[in-house]
Amino acid sequence: MLSQIETDFRDMLLIRRTEELILQLFTEGKVSGTTHTCIGQEANAIALISQLDPAIDFVMSNHRCHGHYLSFGCSLEGLLGEIMGRANGICGGRGGSQHLKSGNFFSNGVLGGGAAIACGLALGEKLKKQNGIAVWCLSDGALGEGVVYESLNMAALWNLPILFFVENNLYAQSTPIALGVAGSVVDRAKPFGIHADEIDTTDVEQLRPWCSEMIEYVRTNRKPAWAVVDTYRLAAHSKGDDNRPEEELARHREHDPLYLLRRRVSDACIENAEKWVEDVLAKAAEAAENSPASTMDGELS
């Protein structure tokens, strides 16, 4: 049995390698369109999303969704197939990188609107008197969309079990947070009377208990919460567009969540994880490669 830290290391590594593979597929021209990786932010996904219960909870994610998707226990094969446009893709190739659905997991590349939908999912839990919660994933840039505040207001008014999961990575595409977000990120929810908290770390061991508390707050109190994680994306916004200063990147690489854990787990653990990830990924990639290109057949055509 793996310890928590070993599991987290392995799972974060899987996300990292998967996204590296995806980027490589783009570079090789095997895939077209666009993609957004969460390289550098894996600890958030693992710490928060993997603590949810896919049977009863809901996740509404955004353009940068692979880590959330995998942390929620959704199919790796389905993800690769989807991005490669194969029939075995989780959405049959229709959604692509930004539009995934698997069980209670949803993502959409249009910023903002998901906040209100997540409120609706949470309201559903409330009306059914069930225990699930809804999580809406956003980053600093999405704070620009008005519907976020409409949602905060409704969530607070109606005591909705929704967790607003803000991965503040300091940038929205090329725009540094200072040019896009006035004032405070964590305070944005407070005037609505919503419990808000912030943590500034990429360390999964610090994130896990904090996320657990935030989730429990929502689950137990049946009330919204606003959970801000200060983080950083180490890769480009999408495929290769990055104008951030190299010094800044270098500084943040020292907080690479994988790098942090590598210093804490054993060499054997690292080796096993690398091996396991390689295997799993190879199989998934092979399955996708072997799946036929997707076509417009079936009821949705």
Binding site: H99, N108, V110, G112, A115, A122, G124
Partner: protein, 333 residues
């Protein structure tokens, strides 16, 4: 005498009674106020847990409706004036209909957005528009419009019970209009209903038609008046075809009449260009016409508040009459 409003309200009560998964969200819908146009009156008293009064957040409540639909509820969202559906375009186009169809599997999304559209009450440029146009042709979205011909409460119920997202359009002037839906003959015209869930109705004098008038919603009574006047004053016989599912729509009823009349007038209350009528004409262009089809619609200006000007801008009986005469007088270029 039952009015359209009563029927809607009764239908609403019925479906909420029968279907515990129906939930209503909107602004000012709680009793005693019961909603700006009173369609929701009494619901909050009878079903307090399932009637949720909301902040003034049209986008927000539409999103909430989408989430509830994903939770297997049948949410009905009221947008107080159809003019404010401008605020829910993103939710319907980029979220609701996308969830319904972009994930490689049909994700049931039984969301109904209800809204009053239309003018003729002096409400001015931002409370009088017929903006259903914006939602016509949106893949995956059904647009259904009330008329006094097909039981409005039943129509609403069917929309609520359908599995995809829908926009349900209630023309304001119809609220106080008496129901015709029980009658098999209206103002001397025989009514034929198609077998569809959202029927097309053809009203006919039983004589070979000279012109087919095609319309929906609030223009229904106006077209019937025009048909009567055309018959009396011009000795022109019209069929009037009234659709209820307006997007997507079936051409059958229109085509059947057109085959006889070979002349068509399409009337709507919204603005002219890219209105409902544009698609009707484009779709029917496979038919032989003896004269170019004519559209009757609102002038392409903001709808003025003053009634004197509002009347000038909106399509009137006289405009439908003139259009029908035009199809008889004119010829193809």
């Amino acid at each position: 005498m039952k009015r359209v409003l009563d029927s809607l309200n009764e239908g609403f009560h019925r479906v909420m009674k029968e279907r515990p998964e129906v939930v209503v969200i909107g602004q000012d819908i709680l009793d005693p106020y019961g909603g700006a146009f009173k369609v929701t009156r009494g619901l909050s008293t009878d079903y307090p847990e399932r009637v949720i009064t909301s902040p003034i957040s049209e986008a927000g409540i539409t999103g909430v409706g989408i989430g509830l639909a994903l939770q297997k509820f049948r949410p009905v969202v009221e947008v107080m004036f159809g003019d404010f559906t401008t605020l829910i375009v993103d939710q319907l186009i980029n979220h609701g209909t996308k969830i319904y169809a972009m994930y490689g599997q049909r994700v049931p999304l039984p969301l109904t957005v209800r809204t009053p559209m239309g003018a003729r009450r002096g409400y001015g440029p931002t409370h009088s528009q017929s903006l259903e146009r914006l939602f016509m042709g949106v893949p995956g979205l059904n647009v259904v419009a009330v008329s006094p011909l097909v039981d409005p409460g039943e129509l609403l119920t069917q929309v609520i019970l359908s599995d995809g997202p829908s926009l349900f359009v209630e023309n304001k002037t119809l609220y106080s209009h008496p129901l015709w839906s029980e009658e098999s003959s209206i103002q001397g015209m025989k009514v034929t209903r198609s077998e569809d869930t959202f029927p097309s109705c053809t009203l006919s004098y039983g004589e070979e038609p000279d012109v087919t008038l095609v319309t929906y919603g609030g223009m229904t009574p106006i077209c019937l008046k025009a048909a009567a006047r055309l018959r009396e004053e011009e000795e022109l016989i019209c069929d009037v075809v009234i659709l209820h599912e307006i997007s997507p729509f079936k051409v059958d009823a229109i085509g059947a009449s057109l085959r006889k009349s070979r002349r068509m007038v399409v009337a709507e209350e919204g603005t002219y260009s890219w209105g409902w009528g544009a698609e009707v004409i484009a779709r029917l262009s496979e038919y032989r016409f003896d004269a170019p089809p004519v559209r009757v619609a609102a002038r392409e200006v903001p709808i003025p508040a003053a009634r004197s000007m509002e009347d000038e801008v909106l399509p009137q009986v006289r405009d439908v009459v003139a259009a029908a005469i035009q199809t008889v007088d004119s010829d193809l270029r």
